[in-house]
């Protein structure tokens, strides 16, 4: 029980810290903000587990886990799983093309949207789609692809990600090219 309570507190701080940091962070590697907040939350969790009493001042004896290791590990597991969900939610909400469509349709109400309007939101009229304008510079900077003679070539780290992605798609029987 102690681990769960501390994990809840650590996660609340993580959400607050990441929301604040994202507003002031000037770069576009937001994953650093999330990972930094997560690292801080784990430190807070571990420190709380070490420093605070086993009952946290209010947990009745019957609700205290008899093994501190299980209590610690259980709370950490919950913190990791909830953090992963939170991170995915944040990225999906802000950057997903599907969510962009839903947010725009929410604004338009019953007017709705045609497919060409949906395409225009993502820069279909522009020389470089919005989808590539965000991703290509990151792939170049991260060393996954290289730009050569007006084309993009896959580098070894990119090949590894592609191989893993293909494997996972085969595992779930998704189209490898989709």
């Amino acid at each position: 029980m102690r681990g769960v309570v501390l994990a809840a507190g650590a996660f609340a701080l993580l959400v607050l810290a990441s929301a604040v940091m994202l507003r002031v962070y000037p770069g576009n590697k937001e994953f650093k903000v999330f990972l930094g907040a997560f690292a801080g939350s784990v430190v807070f969790y571990a420190a709380g587990f070490w420093v605070l009493p086993a009952d946290l001042g209010f947990i009745p004896p019957a609700w205290q886990e008899s093994s501190p290791a299980v209590d610690l590990g259980n709370g950490l597991l919950i913190l990791v799983l909830v953090f992963h969900g939170y991170w995915c939610f944040a990225y999906f909400s802000c950057l997903s093309p599907s969510m962009s469509i839903m947010v725009e349709l929410r604004r338009r109400g019953s007017d709705g949207m045609t497919e060409s309007e949906a395409l225009a939101i993502h820069g279909s009229d522009e020389p470089v789609n919005l989808i590539f304008r965000r991703r290509l510079p990151k792939l170049l900077k991260g060393g996954y692809v290289a730009e050569e003679d007006g084309a993009y070539r896959l580098l070894t780290p990119g090949q590894r990600v592609a191989s893993l992605g293909s494997f996972l798609k085969r595992l779930i029987n998704a189209q490898v090219g989709a």
């Binding site: 944040a90 709705g112 395409l119 991703r135 792939l139 090949q159 992605g165």
Partner: protein
């Protein structure tokens, strides 16, 4: 708590195997509905197993058996649901990631090399949007009225959540 965690872990492992077989055998069009459908029975199964098995599962030492059984039950159930949601997200990463798809296309290209025009033709916004709009209609977020798409109540909730989240996080596309 360990009893609940072990039961949850065992059931999740079984579910992953079963779901993998289902994906390959039937290729369901609504993947998440399929996952939910096969996961749902594990909840009552977990409860029944928790009730019927001894506190130490026949293998746990005394030090791991102590907390109130209700705490162990509830904790294990919470972890069980969280593990399912995490699995769903991993499915989404594998199936929907635009970046991974882009890298896969590059890996399959001659000399693993593509121009921007070729990449946009293979996995640019036109290809992506058609796919995403189809999925959103199929999953009940949008409905097609002639040439226009409008939100369903489910989509309206999704769009509202997205609107609030964007105001909170302020992550920009560029």
């Amino acid at each position: 708590m360990l009893k609940g965690l072990l039961l949850s872990g065992t059931l999740m492992t079984l579910w992953v195997v079963v779901q993998g077989v289902v994906f390959h055998a039937t290729a369901p069009r609504k993947a998440f509905s399929s996952m939910l459908g096969w996961f749902a029975p594990t909840i009552p199964l977990y409860l029944v197993l928790y009730w019927m098995t001894p506190a130490n599962l026949g293998v746990l030492s005394e030090g791991f058996v102590g907390a109130d059984w209700r705490l162990g039950l509830l904790n294990g159930l919470t972890v069980h649901v969280l593990l399912f949601l995490t699995a769903g997200l991993f499915y989404s990463h594998a199936d929907r990631s635009i970046t991974v798809r882009l890298l896969i296309e590059l890996s399959r290209a001659p000399r693993q090399r593509l121009t921007l025009a070729q990449m946009q033709e293979m996995c640019g916004v036109e290809v992506l949007m058609q796919d995403r709009l189809d999925i959103m209609v199929r999953n009940g977020f949008l409905v097609s009225r002639g040439s226009r798409f409008v939100l369903t109540p489910k989509g309206w909730i999704g769009g509202s959540v997205g609107r609030v989240a964007r105001r909170v996080f302020r992550m920009k596309a560029l």
